[in-house]
């Protein structure tokens, strides 16, 4: 052996890691799946590829995608929020109850209709802040707190509206959900902008990176000087705020607030996030991936409808396909979905 072999340089050799190079492309992992689905859709029904149908698919997913946006950020921070599916119903229901007449199942306060949208968003923020209070101040498990809130908030909505659907919606509240901007539904623009903002914030702002750090190892994040509680709190508030906004969009799209608005959505929300590569353990995943997850689920839904699957069976098949997609995502990403 010539010369002195230095342990120093030898020891520092990075372990070769094939996964590493793949990691860069994990974000794009779902793109082929989306292309396949588009192809399948086109083969099943020529209507699929028409502009109207595609716009329709996107618009139908706008509320879901906002919830997925919210849930993904919360999951990356290492927390849970199951109550989003109730917030999407309660926030608009409460806001409308305060402004519409008693005859239309209002609460009798008859506040000016201009207040409806601010109240709706404020309700969302307050719900998020309350969840944060229970989770951070009282150190309760996020899972159980928000599961409780899911039930409480749904109950509040039914109590306040007497279990009725609200139909008498002021035009200002309807606007966002059914306006058209530059040839596309406003809700699609809103989602696109919010996702772009989210991707930018999580990728390029210190506060956004702090969310990943907290989800990855909260003690280490604290040691690095991140105000962990404050960041998590903010994330929970923004999450619920997004759910309230989704509630507005849904109200506008259907022209009413159903007593069960959002009920059962949370499974789809989690499925989309997880298919999109967001880890339930925190610290891992991207919003772009989550958005792809939403698209996969939206396309599956549309294809099943176009394919003429009978209404009685569609739910079972839809659920089954989502489970299959989760398995596939697990196999293709090669990593455990912990």
């Amino acid at each position: 052996m010539t010369g002195t072999p230095t342990l120093a340089t030898a020891k520092a050799e990075p372990r070769p890691h094939p996964r590493l190079r793949l990691a860069r492309f994990r974000d794009l992992a779902l793109v082929p799946a989306i292309l396949v689905l588009v192809l399948v859709g086109a083969l099943i029904d020529p209507v699929f590829l028409t502009r109207d149908n595609l716009v329709n698919v996107l618009q139908q997913q706008t509320e879901l995608s906002l919830l997925v946006l919210a849930e993904s950020v919360i999951l990356i921070a290492g927390k849970f929020d199951l109550s989003l599916e109730s917030t999407i119903g309660l926030a608009p229901a409460l806001a409308l109850g305060l402004v519409i007449p008693t005859a239309s199942h209002g609460l009798g306060t008859n506040w000016p209709t201009a207040l409806a949208i601010p109240i709706c968003l404020l309700t969302g923020a307050v719900i998020g802040a309350f969840n944060g209070l229970l989770i951070l101040r009282f150190k309760l498990s996020a899972f159980i707190v928000t599961l409780g809130m899911l039930i409480v908030l749904r109950g509040l909505q039914i109590g306040l509206t007497g279990g009725q659907n609200l139909f008498d919606i002021p035009p200002s509240v309807l606007y966002l959900g059914n306006a058209t901007w530059l040839g596309l539904p406003a809700s699609i623009w809103i989602c696109a902008v919010l996702f772009a903002a989210g991707i930018l914030a999580l990728g390029f702002l210190r506060a956004g990176r702090a969310v990943y750090a907290i989800g990855g190892n909260v003690d280490a994040a604290r040691a690095a000087g991140i105000r962990t509680d404050r960041v998590v709190w903010l994330v929970l508030v923004v999450g619920s705020l997004l759910a309230a906004l989704a509630g507005l969009l849904m109200t506008g799209r259907f022209g009413s607030v159903a007593a069960a608005q959002g009920q059962g959505m949370i499974f789809t929300v989690f499925a989309a996030a997880v298919i999109g590569g967001v880890s339930l353990d925190g610290g891992k995943g991207t919003l772009f991936g989550a958005l792809c997850g939403v698209l996969v689920i939206g396309l599956i839904n549309n294809i099943l409808t176009l394919g003429g699957v009978s209404a009685q069976w569609i739910q079972a098949i839809y659920g089954g396909i989502i489970l299959a997609a989760l398995v596939l995502a697990r196999l293709t990403s090669g990593k455990a979905q912990d």
Binding site: M1, L7, R19, L20, R206, R209, Y212, G215, A221, G225
Partner: protein
């Protein structure tokens, strides 16, 4: 001039008093050692000096000024940088981002990833760590993680740096480079608080030393005025020295661990070794020698590309930890925090995890028997805890370590693989741990000790040396240190080794 002082600090955790009116005072520009047995309160003082925890009473000053409020993390970070005993690297982020966590430089309000990666490369380069900053930190080895951690603490530009057992997971070469960096920084006026259980390191880099014992300050002295034996006595009080267990050299029992032609690409190549019942074999090598990967492969954490591992006559399914354990293997992992313990369970539950069958019939674990077994272990291994019910995440680093070792030995394994068994363990406990290992060997267990430290393999019948993935040297009883160190560093025997 006093750079940093902690005075009359008291800190309690429930019934445990971690610090009792203790303190240290550091002169500007000195490297000050803090030593004491496991659980003496060293890391607790570190968390108070870095503003992670509030003392129950007492005060901390920097350059004579009172410490900033706990909430003002930025102010703390300007005053002190720290390598904590527990890793604070975030496994899901890249190395580069970990280095600049929460201080990523921005351009026009957005993080400049390109610049961050370049600067991360510079920081690592300055410290001589050749790791790609784009790597995900979770994929690093234990040593690499520690190097990143150290590079980060040194890069803050703080005037005061705390290193809590930085050397416990490093090999000799990396330690030497750390000391060089520390001397450079000291020349530039940086003050260090240095914690280690390797007392020779204290003499090597420190000027003064403070000793804690049982949560109290015992003495502070210049290292030149305090010979090694006196230092040990200050740390341990009058505790009696445990006699090393006597063991007759291993005869020719059956082979309990048989490794044949084991190969894993880029880690080790065609390694064969045998351990007989009752025999103790040492396996030493530097960080890049592949010895840790070999141990992980034997335990089933990694899957070999070629070759076989046979444990007590059976060949467990490769790459399966349960299969290896079922075959009769006991294993002490290198990374105790992630592979070793269930943090929220009690000491008793963690320690008795491998002997469930003996705690009661039909899968039932009788609480009384578990307690009894745990109390015996706490006694035997000298584990400092408030009781068997204490959750393990409240133990000091060295004591948590002892729980893992106690557990590995408790199941009466046929073959036992121990990786760096005494890292982070104090001088006195080291002795009792190794004694327990010798006793296990005397009882017929075949032991393989994988370590960087010659002291860990003193009791071994044979020592193998690995270098760059191959076993390059076999030494029988009566080996001498110089030859082994030469082999570890890759100096071929036939060319001779001079020092």
């Amino acid at each position: 001039m006093t750079a940093v002082a902690a005075e009359h600090i008291t800190k309690r955790y429930g019934a445990t008093t971690a610090l009792d009116d203790a303190g240290v005072s550091l002169r500007s520009g000195e490297t000050h050692a803090l030593v004491g047995r496991n659980g003496a309160g060293k890391s607790t003082l570190v968390s108070i000096l870095t503003g992670l925890q509030r003392a129950d009473s007492g005060r901390v000053t920097f350059d004579g000024e009172p410490a900033p409020p706990l909430a003002d993390r930025d102010a703390w970070r300007q005053r002190v940088a720290c390598v904590y005993q527990k890793s604070t690297i975030i496994p899901t982020l890249t190395v580069g981002e970990n280095l600049f966590l929460n201080r990523q430089q921005s351009r026009r309000g957005l993080i400049d990833w390109h610049g961050l990666r370049r600067r991360a490369g510079e920081v690592l380069g300055r410290y001589g760590v050749a790791i790609d900053p784009g790597m995900v930190a979770g994929d690093l080895t234990v040593e690499q993680t520690q190097l990143v951690e150290i590079a980060r603490a040194l890069s803050f530009g703080a005037k005061f740096i705390i290193l809590d057992e930085p050397t416990a997971r490093l090999d000799a070469a990396a330690i030497e480079r750390l000391f060089e960096r520390m001397r450079d920084l000291r020349a530039a006026g940086v003050t260090f608080l240095f914690i280690s259980h390797h007392l020779q390191e204290v003499y090597e880099v420190c000027q003064r030393v403070t000793v804690f014992r049982d949560a109290k300050h015992v003495l502070t002295a210049g290292v030149d005025d305090l010979p090694h034996d006196e230092l040990v006595r200050a740390m341990t009080g009058d505790a009696p020295v445990t006699a090393a267990a006597a063991r007759s050299s291993a005869g020719d029992g059956p082979v309990v661990l048989d490794v044949r032609g084991l190969t894993l690409a880029d880690r080790f190549d065609d390694v064969s070794l045998e351990v007989r019942a009752g025999e103790m074999v040492g396996l030493i090598g530097s960080g890049s020698s592949g010895k840790n990967a070999l141990a992980q492969t034997i335990a089933g954490l990694l899957k070999a590309d070629a070759g076989t591992v046979t444990i007590a006559g059976t060949t467990p399914k490769p790459g399966s930890v349960p299969a290896a354990l079922d075959a009769g293997l006991g294993y002490l992992p290198q990374d105790r925090h992630t592979e070793g313990l269930v943090p929220l369970l009690s000491v008793a539950e963690n320690a008795t995890m491998t002997i469930g069958k003996r705690l009661g019939p039909a899968g039932i674990a009788l609480p009384a028997r578990r307690r009894e077994a745990a109390v015996a272990m706490i006694e035997e291994y000298d584990i400092r805890t408030s009781g068997p019910e204490q959750p393990v995440n409240g133990l000091s680093g060295g004591n948590a370590q002892k729980v893992v070792l106690a557990r590995a030995l408790a199941s009466d394994p046929k073959a036992l693989v121990l990786v760096s068994p005494t890292a982070g363990v104090d001088v006195r406990s080291k002795q009792s741990l190794l004694t327990a290992v010798v006793r296990a060997a005397a009882g017929g267990t075949g032991v393989l000790i994988v370590s960087d430290e010659l002291d860990d393999v003193r009791d071994c019948d044979r020592v193998l040396v690995m270098f760059h993935g191959r076993v390059v040297h076999h030494a029988g009883k009566g080996w001498d240190d110089a030859t082994l160190i030469g082999a570890v560093e890759g100096v071929r025997e036939e060319k001779g080794f001079a020092e």
